[in-house]
Amino acid sequence: SQKIEQNSEALNIQEGKTATLTCNYTNYSPAYLQWYRQDPGRGPVFLLLIRENEKEKRKERLKVTFDTTLKQSLFHITASQPADSATYLCALDERSGGSYIPTFGRGTSLIVHP
């Protein structure tokens, strides 16, 4: 069966450090992989997309890597701040017929301590 794994344990780090979150998947051939941020009581917010033929993508303090051989994506937040505390979800887009169907991981909670 198809499966997306994100660490269910919260990641606690000190302000200013780099946070690294992991997304592993099995039995997928995703065309795209995306990362989202979700705050309590709110819907997920899109952060970054990386395509299957891309190794790395950056946006400000965010960096995403995508290794289709390892079936893994890493999400980095450099110079982390308490405001970065949230749950981060990865999502895979797999082509199904003529549609792209997004499937989400359960998310990892990030807590940045001042």
Binding site: G43, P44, P102
Partner: protein, 110 residues
């Protein structure tokens, strides 16, 4: 960004009653999705639509139906609500590189 609104934001209903949730977008995005989010399960796809009157089932479609008679509206109906359908429901649209989500509907079935 496209405007996407969900209504109602909160609802409490009794077991066995029908419930309809509405998702409205202000632009002509073709794809719309309904998810439910539960602790320990994350976001799970219920149904999606790829155009007016074009819909398909997702991972957890049992007990749910959808309709899309206009591009801007995607309705999710629980024909006979059960306690297992207590959840937070999110609508999403495909927009550019990512998906844009609504603010969610918190549904409680008592």
């Amino acid at each position: 960004d496209a405007g996407i609104t969900q209504s109602p934001r909160h609802k409490v209903t009794e077991t066995g009653t029908p419930v309809t949730l509405r998702c409205h977008q202000t632009e002509n995005h073709r794809y719309m999705y309904w998810y439910r989010q539960d602790p320990g399960h994350g976001l799970r796809l219920i149904h999606y639509s790829y155009g007016v009157k074009d819909t398909d089932k997702g991972e957890v479609s049992d007990g749910y139906s959808v309709s899309r008679s206009k591009t801007e509206d995607f309705l999710l109906t629980l024909e006979s609500a059960t306690s297992s359908q207590t959840s937070v429901y999110f609508c999403a649209i495909s927009e550019g590189d990512g998906y844009t989500f609504g603010s969610g509907t918190r549904l409680t079935v008592v």
